[in-house]
Each structure stands twice: as structure tokens, then as C-alpha cells.
Symmetry: C2
Subunit: 203 residues, 2 copies
Amino acid sequence: MSTDRSYGDPSTRVRILDATWQLVAEQGAGLKLSDVAARASVSRQAVYLHFGDRSGLLVALVQHMDDTLDLAESLAAVNTAPDGPALLEAAMRLNTEFWSQVLPIAQVLEAARHDDDALGTAWRDRMGFRQAVFRAMVDTLATRGELDEDWSVDDAAATLYAVAHFDTWRELRLELGWSNDHYVGTMTRFLRRALLKEGDTNR
Amino acid sequence: MSTDRSYGDPSTRVRILDATWQLVAEQGAGLKLSDVAARASVSRQAVYLHFGDRSGLLVALVQHMDDTLDLAESLAAVNTAPDGPALLEAAMRLNTEFWSQVLPIAQVLEAARHDDDALGTAWRDRMGFRQAVFRAMVDTLATRGELDEDWSVDDAAATLYAVAHFDTWRELRLELGWSNDHYVGTMTRFLRRALLKEGDTNR
DNA sequence: CGAGTGATTTACACTGTGTCAACTAACCCT
DNA sequence: AGGGTTAGTTGACACAGTGTAAATCACTCG
């Protein structure tokens, strides 16, 4: 592979990916490779040289996703949460942060993956990481004894992950126009009631 | 535009829509109009006569959706539910029923709508109906005094709707491999704890 | 210097969409 | 029965976007 950027310029590869990100955000899945090339000030063939084909470009975009995300603060808040309610709130704050940033490409790729195996694999890989994060949270709650006995860790983690997924966030936040705070507040209350022991219901 | 929604023989129209449904299920958004025509035993141009263009065909498919759904039983169960927990369970049963049937086109159209205004409007219209159904459920719960005072009817209805949306269902049911019963059982418990008053927590 | 390589330009084959015009087969009607 | 409308067919074509290929340029490094 060509892992070395030679010329003094910022790596062409990254320029192309940035251009792709922008155009996916602006035009959705209907982006043209010629537009990508133009936006990156590069020839259309350079795109093919770097990514092989359309699908390869989108896969690379998904893999490149994490590099452009800025979630350190929100993530730290989750890890330092003193109790269950605080942890859930931090998790929902992280969630809304995450989807806000990923929104442009999530809208497109979450669905394009059905027509493209490679893209599907790449996307699932990213989501697997997400799944693990929520799983870890529920583990924490369980070892602290804050998870209600009604719940197995597996079910609670899966449900939390699924409920925090893109559709739910998008419907509430974008379609119904909820603010970030309203999303975080309502979902936190929702999850706290559903998952935690009774003693924790005071806020 | 043209939108000759009543071009000719309704049976031809329906044959084309059925073929489209099948092909969307088989091939996703990448279906070719020539394949649709072939499947419907019709010339490619007939498709254009009836639906104007590709987008018109997909919009018609969404509008045609309700005609092919078979939800009478599940819907009746919701309307005759004696109490809150039963109502939520019936609702989740209806939900899994609904998404199972709509799955083939939901996967594709939920996302294609971003690139196609007309399709987006049609899809949103269908989902608005769904929203109303969940709203009615929460109204019922509220007037029966079973909705916890923590919740406004608006927030509860919106949250219920969003949590029952496609992504959540798909992640749990398809990606994580939950059975229908496990989905219904877990989600019902989840929602019961989150939305209903304490007295109802016995199952 | 020359070798290597990233990138450019130009050209072309292929596929799918959308449009158009001419033809056909049915049905309807006084 | 013949004339007009309706529904559909056939075949051709323009257009756009993807993907491939070959010749060439430009810059770097040994």
C-alpha cells in the first residue's frame, strides 16, 4: 500500500477523504467522483488510484471517521461518573455528541451498506465498537449493584445500545426538533427508570 | 410534474408495484427499471407511463405499502388491551409485526429519502401515521391514570415512537438475533418500567 | 544523471436513466 | 363496420456516471 505521503503537501489521500466527507454531507449518497476530485483539487483518476473504486472510497471514509471525531471530553465524563444516573446522563450526552458529528455520513452509509458488502462490514465494525462501549457501561452499573435485578447484563447492554442508536436519536433530535438538552434529559430519565434500582430514582 | 397517477389499467400498475416490491427486497436500492418491467411482464416504457420516473415509482411503492400490510389482528389486540402492561406488550407485538413486513423496503427507502425529496415526503407521511398510533396509545394510558407523573404525554409518546423505530428493532432483532418473543418481552418490560406507575410493575 | 512514482490528461467501453416517435391492439360509440 | 381514444409495445437515441487504459508530466532521491 502507499502509506507514505511523499510530496510536501498534505496527503492527497486525506484531502480526498475530506472532500468526500463534505460532499456526502451536502449531496448524500449521490455524490459523483468527479465532484470529489474537483473538491479535492485532484484529477478523477487520482481518486481511483487511491481507493480503487467508489465502494473503496466510502469504506475508507468510514474507517477515517474516528480520526475526525472529537469526543474526548464526553468520553471522559462517562468514565468519571460517580453513580448510575450520572453515568447514564454522560452516556446520553456522549451519544448526542457522537451522532451529531457522524450524522452526515451515518444517514447515507447506514443504508448504502445494504448494497455493498465491503461497506457493510466496515460500518458494522465501527458499530461493534459502539456496542462494546455500552456493554462496558452496563458492566460498571452491574458491578456497582445499580442495575436492577430484572435485567441480565446482556439484555440491558443490548437494549441500551439499540435505544441509543441512530434512528431514535434522529427522530427525536431532528424530526421532532428536540434540543440536545431535552434529548439528554428525557432519555436519561427514561433509561434510569427502566434500568436502575428504585433507590436511585431521585435526581 | 406529470404524475399521471391514474394512467391506465390499475392491474398493470399493481403488477409493476408488486414486481418493484420484490426487487427492492432482493436487490435493494440498486434495482433497475428494466428488471422491474421484466418481472412485471411489461415493457420498460410502461413503467415510465405509469410512474413518470424512478422516484415516482418508489413514492408509489411507499404509498402502496399499507395495502399489502396485514396487521388487523395485532392492531385489534392493542385496542382491546385491558391494562397498561398488556397494552405495551400488544404494541410491541404490533411493532415487530409491522417492521417484519415492511423490512424489505424500509431498509432501502428510509435512507434513499435523503436523496429524493418526493420520496422523503411520502415516507414521512407514512411515519406520521405511525406516530399518531403511538400517541393514541399514550393518551389511553394517561386517561386511565397509568402513565407515571414524571412523563408529559408529548414526551412519552415521542420517546415510545422513537424507541420503537426501525433501527432499534433491526439491531435487536436482526443484528443481535433476538427472537420475536424476546424482543417483545424485553421491550415491554423496558417500557413498562420506564413509563408506567409503580403499582403496575407486577407482571 | 536516471530510476521510480504520484498524479495528470485524454480517450473509450459500459450501464442505467429518461425521452421520443411510430406502430399495434383493444375497446367504445352513435 | 369505421374512426377515435386508450394502453401498451418496439426501437432508437441522448446523457450521465463508473471504471479502465495508455501516454505523459513532475518531482524526489540514490
